[in-house]
Amino acid sequence: MSEEAPVVFVVDDEKLVRRALERLIRTAGFDVRAFASAQDFLREERPDAPGCLVLDVRLPDLSGMDLQQELIRSGDELPIVFVTGHGDIPMTVRAMKAGAVEFLTKPFRDQDLLGAIEQGIRTHRTARQHRRELLALRRCYESLTAREREVFPLVTSGLLNKQIAERLGTSEKTVKVHRGQVMHKMQAASLADLVRMGEKLGITSPETGSRTKVQ
């Protein structure tokens, strides 16, 4: 699958630092967009590309930590590399627990920052990939009929067509047709493939008879 060029976002209220980070990241070959405040960053329409956010902890009004919480709340998976003039341990722990890629204390070596950015981009890229796959799977899953959705978990739990037919109170032949439809619509190459898809979609164990659907 083709992937767009990554974009690195920088939010730092200190002009000199912002310019320096922007320059360093740009010379390392990234597309950089810099902002003086968290609000400016939030207002910006972001391109649909993998990226990373280099975020100063101490910002006027909305702080870096606040922005992190804001992004988590809105389901944004953009990885964050925190930079701070002076970080204390509780602050670092809080940021890392909330999923930050790295917590760097200024001044830092370029390898540390760029390495963290690359790691962030990688993470984001993977996350985006997963999300994209999940979306595709979900689209496929949504094309299934109600009956086919009933058959899906029973098939992935390894039941035979006969057993499925018994459970559903229908003929083995009908089940076989449904099964074929599921395999086809889900674009599954094998039963193992379908099982993995079921896991990804969160369609689990039919033993209990429960059906879960994960958004």
Binding site: E14, L16, V17, R19, A20, L21, R23, L24, R26, T27, A28, R58, L59, P60, S63, V83, T84, G85, H86, D88, T105, K106, P107, F108, R109, D110, L113
Partner: protein, 544 residues
């Protein structure tokens, strides 16, 4: 004694004089009786002498009676004695006897007797009068002498009293001078008089001691004195004395003199004295040796300044996080730019524009870091005491806000500053004033930390205060001051903070008061937070 002294001057038989004369003086009858008695006695004696034929009848005895009568009884009875003597002569001694008739041959004799009797009477009267006048004059003289003597005695007495009084006054004066000298000695205050023409200075004993001069210099030329004064103070002192003489102005001056045992600090007060013709002839004044006081003041000032310094170091300690941030920011920019440059230089083509900008930013960031360090160094410096200069309070406030910006950001405190432009400067020590404002700002931040519900706002407000002062108010939106402690917050070692030394406000107040101002807590209304205000006297623009 005068009377006794005058006694030997009298040659007169005092006793007979006093008896017979006193009788004659007293009684006119006695006077008039004396003539006939004496004439009778004289005639009787003559008659007796004649009857015994001792001699021829002569008029001498009768003339003698006239003389005696005149002498004792005066001119009137004298004339009576003359008449009686003539009659006695005519009756008893000139033939015919026992008749008043006088024979022709005796007429000439008789006439000559009358003539001599009258002559005797006249002469005796004259003598008596002269004697009496003399006597009179003598007694008058005696009285006058007595009077004069008495007067002299009186005057002598007065003089003696005056002498005694003067001695007393002199004694008193001496004592008073001794007291004055003692008082001058005790209070280390000397007095002096500085006259313009001829130029000379008179010094009291204590003044001599203060200036370290020998008693030979009690009156000396001003140069002797001025020679001791430190060169930088000399012209000021001279100018003030001359100004006092010229413009009749009082003056007061603190200056230093150098003596073999070291520098002494003196305080002099002078006042021109206007003479009868309305000119200032001299300036009188006092000089107080304030060396000990000055040294104590300096020691105190030093102790205060060390305490203030310690408190600043502590304040800085509390700001460590912010300071680290302040310095690391530009350092980060330097490092990042340098790394960018390395990458740019490693590239196949050189982007000169980008390189130039990066290097420019490095320089700017380096300078920024230097500024931060300098600001902290200034704040932590041990400023020599009393480096008072005109200071713009608004600028000091801005510097403190710069210093605490990261601290304010860190705790998400927004600052609302209303700094009145064009406020007059105040005369003060910049670092100490920074310390006061920093202290109040840090207190404000700390007071708002427990507040989570509402925005943290620190208000800083500067404006012109009453009576030529500049007023600064710092208000937080915290919980405010507990009423019970608000009157103790300025006490040293009183603190409501677990880690506080309790010196911040005490030192702040002592700094402000040392600058001639006031620092107090404003009455909090409701839950509007705590507010502190200080005022400092504005200095006039022309003050150096």
């Amino acid at each position: 004694m005068n009377r006794e002294e005058s006694a030997p001057a009298s040659v007169w038989p005092v006793r007979s004089r006093s008896n017979l004369h006193a009788l004659m003086e007293r009684s006119a009858l006695a006077r008039w009786v004396l003539a006939p008695v004496l004439v009778a006695i004289g005639s009787a004696v003559d008659l007796v002498l004649q009857s015994y034929n001792i001699r021829r009848p002569t008029p001498e005895i009768l003339l003698a009676t006239i003389v005696i009568t005149v002498w004792y009884a005066g001119a009137g009875p004298g004339l009576l004695a003359v008449a009686l003597s003539i009659l006695s002569l005519a009756y008893y001694f000139l033939p015919p006897s026992n008749s008043f008739a006088v024979g022709r041959p005796d007429l000439l004799y008789f006439a000559s007797f009358i003539f001599f009797a009258l002559l005797t009477d006249w002469f005796s009267s004259l003598r008596r009068r002269t004697e009496r006048a003399l006597n009179q004059a003598r007694s008058e003289l005696e009285i006058k002498v007595a009077e004069r003597t008495a007067e002299l005695a009186g005057r002598n007495q007065t003089l003696q009293l005056e002498i005694a009084e003067r001695q007393r006054v002199e004694e008193e004066l001496r004592r008073s001078e001794a007291y004055l000298a003692q008082a001058q000695r005790l209070s280390q205050t000397g007095s002096w008089a500085w006259s313009a023409a001829p130029a000379k200075v008179s010094l009291s004993e204590e003044a001599l001691r203060i200036y370290g001069l020998s008693p030979a210099h009690a009156v000396c030329v001003p140069d002797i004195l001025l020679r001791e004064v430190l060169p930088e103070d000399r012209s000021v002192l001279e100018g003030l004395v001359n100004g006092a003489i010229r413009d009749r102005r009082d003056f007061e001056i603190d200056y230093r003199i150098v003596l073999p045992d070291g520098v002494r600090y003196l305080h002099s007060v002078g006042r021109p004295v206007v003479n009868g013709s309305g000119e200032v002839a001299e300036v009188i004044g006092t000089t107080l040796d304030v060396t000990d006081r000055k040294r104590a003041e300096q020691d105190l000032q030093e102790a205060n300044s060390q305490l203030a310094h310690a408190s600043r170091v502590q304040a800085m300690g509390e700001l460590t996080a912010s300071i680290a941030h302040e310095i690391n920011q530009p350092l980060a920019a330097v490092v990042a730019n340098a790394d960018a440059c390395t990458r740019l230089l490693a590239g196949k083509t050189l982007n000169m524009g980008e390189l130039r900008e990066a290097v420019g930013d490095i320089a700017e960031a380096g300078a920024r870091a230097g500024e931060v360090i300098a600001r902290i160094r200034t704040f932590l410096s041990k400023a020599p005491p009393a480096t008072r200069r005109p200071v713009c309070l608004n600028q000091v406030i801005r510097e403190v806000l710069d210093l605490t910006r990261s601290e304010l950001d860190r705790h998400q405190v927004s600052v609302r500053s209303e700094l009145k432009p064009g406020l007059p400067d105040v005369l003060g020590d910049r670092v100490e004033l920074q310390q006061v404002i920093l202290n109040l700002v840090m207190n404000g931040i700390e007071a708002m930390l427990p507040e989570t519900g509402r925005p943290r706002v620190l208000g800083i407000h500067s404006q012109a205060g009453e009576a030529g002062t500049v007023q600064v108010t710092i208000r937080d939106s915290g919980i405010g001051l507990p009423a019970a402690t608000s009157d103790r917050i300025f006490d040293a070692f009183f603190t409501t903070k677990p880690a506080g030394l309790g010196l911040g406000l005490a030192i702040s107040r002592s700094i402000i008061e040392a600058h001639g101002g006031r620092l107090w807590a404003l009455d909090g209304k409701g839950n509007s937070g705590a507010a502190f205000r200080f005022t400092l006297p504005a200095c006039s623009r022309e003050t150096p």
